[in-house]
């Protein structure tokens, strides 16, 4: 039955895809690839485009330049990937009969496999496309972004993975409710998990829609629904097993694509990294880019090495406090993301959990290093000017480089390589969204339905059935929200997911595991206050869109061009269009306020972590101290022995 349903779905989807492939490509609007954290790395570059898209467009009407992959080859590759992953789902569906199968792949994932899957969760479209773009435009400031994801593994490895695996079963709620009143804690934990996962999911959906629209001219709605259809299929039928394998396949594809690109870049400099750096610094186009675009110096300073400046910090990251705050979000937030947490329940032992993180860290470190080579390669062989002419934030750099190094636009090699890289980006989004749907539905089905509504009394069949229905509902919700959020600034959603995970989830997980006096009141006040603080600060931060700022940007253009007119100079055709557009943008946005009625940001930082994490932590501690609870303190011994020794857990996973 399941396989028949899937086959029908594949046929329907293929028909749509082929239909679009047959349709001739025409001009598409330029759009930024959505930021999708863990690689919130791409945030800043994207916020550059996303915050004032209209002002930017008005300033530089360069819709002529775009990357055009060969539709037939690209969609063919998409279909191959879809076919492979669906075959995996059919196989996984046959082996998914219990709740443990559905949420934790029956504990049957090895350390190596889990390592690749975790690495896959980290390698999103934003790190693949966005981060290399940042490096190609801003030099080592872009590379500095990549340190956060790598470091986040240390907290996960040392204080999260093994203790959580030893004391939980499937969800965040399991860990937090171990020694507290089960129902209220599970309810709050479920709300937090669903919030974090949905924010993250929306960002990914919008990213997928925009990417497909830009590359293949597939309408936004169709791509979002297509991605939604596949992700729901993966999760509903294959559960964690399918989600993990889709992630592993994607991580493998992504790594091969990255290695190939990096090798092609290095081949151009005879595999000598010093030549690459030397060429980079001495490239006149990069020097001009640094001087004119980044430092805005019309006249070169005597004896200043603008090429070397590309390798020095401060071109992109200007606010040190924001930097540190982003660092906090990474160091703690990734460890509080429910879909990452869930992966530690899929391995059979603490030893395998450990191994999986080391494997993931190794893969991701290599990945970011290769992305660095690709980013610098793109700067050198494409030039920052060309990259920015297609996308201001540099999101198309990887794709353009693939086309160029494959043999150039129109050549078979160029088309094939570009198509492959596009397909990999597509697979990346699919794999990441599936994990998010699974995490959110686990919280609803396992925490809310089974443990709150049914008091933990539900047979395996019912549990799996409920989990499947919930996944379907969560998936549909994700698609609908993705459709509604088409014109929203997705950077804010990613910032939100991380801020909530770092300020709400992380402190209460740590205190549950390591502090005897922690209890029900502490979990609830920590989660609620941490989440509200993070949400509140993001809502008044600069990542939201402020129409007044957009209007001010347009005003500048209007003033400059009108001044030119007043001086008696004629405006050329381009400038007249620019002026008209700027006036429209100005009228539309002048006097406008953000979603929350603000003219400008009140909170100065893009990442609230440095403020909201302490707030969440203090609220958790105060809550626990104000409402002491004997049972929670008495049960600490049991939790602590379990988390340190793993006693009592090994029996649960072998069946």
């Amino acid at each position: 039955m399941i396989s028949r349903f899937i086959t029908a779905g594949v046929i329907a989807l293929s028909l749509t895809a082929i239909g679009y492939a047959a349709e001739p490509a025409n001009g598409t609007p330029s759009a930024a690839v959505a930021a999708s954290a863990p690689a919130s790395a791409a945030q800043q570059a994207i916020s550059a485009t996303a915050q004032k898209p209209e002002a930017v467009k008005a300033a530089a009407p360069v819709a002529v330049n775009k990357v055009t992959p060969n539709r037939t080859i690209t969609i063919g590759m998409f279909l191959v990937i879809i076919a492979i992953t669906l075959a995996v789902v059919i196989w996984a569906a046959k082996n998914t009969t219990t709740a443990s199968d559905f949420y934790a792949a029956g504990g049957g994932i090895t350390g190596w496999q889990n390592g690749w899957a975790i690495a896959g969760d980290y390698m999103s479209a934003a790190s693949f496309l966005g981060m290399s773009g940042l490096m190609s435009l801003y030099g080592i400031d872009g590379f500095m972004y990549a340190v956060g994801p790598a470091f986040s593994f240390i907290a996960i490895l040392l204080v999260i993975a093994e203790p959580c695996r030893n004391s939980g079963k499937f969800t965040l709620g399991d860990i937090l409710s171990f020694r507290t009143s089960s129902k209220p804690v599970r309810a709050v934990a479920a709300i937090s998990t669903v919030t974090v996962s949905l924010f993250y999911l929306i960002a990914q959906m919008v990213g997928a829609g925009k990417l497909m629209q830009v590359l293949l001219n597939i309408p936004y709605r169709v791509s979002v629904m297509g991605v939604g259809f596949l992700m729901v299929g993966y999760v509903v039928f294959g559960g964690m097993k399918a989600t993990t394998w889709v992630q592993i396949i994607k991580a493998g594809l992504l790594m091969s694509g990255t290695v190939m690109l990096a090798v092609l870049v290095m081949a151009k400099v005879n595999m000598n990294p010093f030549t690459l750096f030397h060429d980079l610094v001495n490239n006149p186009l990069i020097q001009d880019h640094v001087r004119l675009t980044l430092l805005k110096e019309a006249i070169p300073k005597e004896g200043f090495d603008y090429g070397q400046r590309f390798l020095e910090p401060g071109l992109l990251l200007k606010n040190p406090l924001d930097q540190i705050s982003l660092g906090v979000a990474w160091a703690l937030g990734a460890a509080g993301l429910p879909h990452i947490l869930m992966r530690f329940f899929t391995v059979p032992s603490a030893k395998e959990a450990r191994k999986s993180i080391v494997v993931a860290l190794f893969i991701n470190s290599s990945f970011f290093f290769l992305i660095n080579i690709i980013g610098f390669g793109a700067a050198l062989y494409l030039s920052p000017q060309l990259i920015q002419s297609i996308d201001k934030g540099g999101n198309m750099a990887t794709l353009m480089l693939a086309q160029k190094l494959g043999g150039g636009a129109g050549s078979l090699g160029g088309d094939m390589f570009l198509a492959f890289i596009c397909a990999v980006a597509f697979a990346t989004i699919l794999a990441v969204v599936s994990g998010l749907v699974l995490a959110a539905s686990a919280a609803i089905a396992h925490d809310v339905y089974v443990n709150i509504v049914m008091n933990g009394k539900a047979d395996q069949q019912t549990q799996v059935k409920v989990a499947r229905i919930t996944s379907l509902v969560v998936g549909i919700t994700g698609v609908m929200m993705g459709l509604m959020a088409e014109n929203e600034n997705v950077v804010a959603f990613v910032a939100l997911a991380f801020a909530v995970a770092a300020s709400g989830n992380f402190p209460v997980i740590m205190l549950t595991l390591f502090w005897r006096k922690f209890n029900t009141a502490g979990v609830i006040s920590g989660l609620v206050v941490g989440t509200v603080a993070a949400l509140g600060l993001v809502m008044i931060s600069p990542v939201m869109t402020y129409p007044q700022n957009v209007a001010n940007g347009a005003k500048k253009i209007i003033v400059a061009l009108e001044k030119k007119q007043a001086e008696g100079k004629m405006l050329d055709e381009k400038e007249i269009i620019t002026l008209d557009k700027a006036q429209v943008v100005f009228k539309k946005n002048d006097g406008g306020t953000s979603m929350f009625g603000l003219k400008d940001a009140i909170f100065p930082l893009k990442n609230p972590g440095i403020v909201s994490v302490p707030i969440g932590l203090i609220a958790a501690i105060l809550g626990a101290l104000l409402f002491r609870e004997r049972r929670a303190e008495e049960m600490f011994d049991e939790l602590e022995v379990r988390q340190i020794t793993g006693l009592g857990v090994s029996k649960a996973s072998d069946h």
Binding site: I140, F143, V147, F151, L157, Q308, L311, E312, D637, I644
Partner: protein, 106 residues
Amino acid sequence: MAEQYDWAAIARNPKYLELKRRKRIFLFGWWIASSIYYFLLAILAAFAPELFKIKVIGVINFGYVFILSEFVMCIIVALYYTHVANKDFDRMTNELIESLHQGGAI
């Protein structure tokens, strides 16, 4: 779960207390130390940019080497932890569980 453990008794077991103490010192010690090194990057880049500009090999400067060293630091800490956990923590855990079996606690 068929087996019942006396958690409070295990929590007082000297072998357990030794394991707990060693784990705690190791895990939090390394977590804090690596965090300091991690935040040092953002702090130095912001407040001591001159340091980052010092050329180390050819045009490659201290900043670039520092960023690379962050990745190396993460990998070394992870490998070292795995080594110690596989060698010491797992052994101590097994010894504890064995002594519990012999003592009839399980």
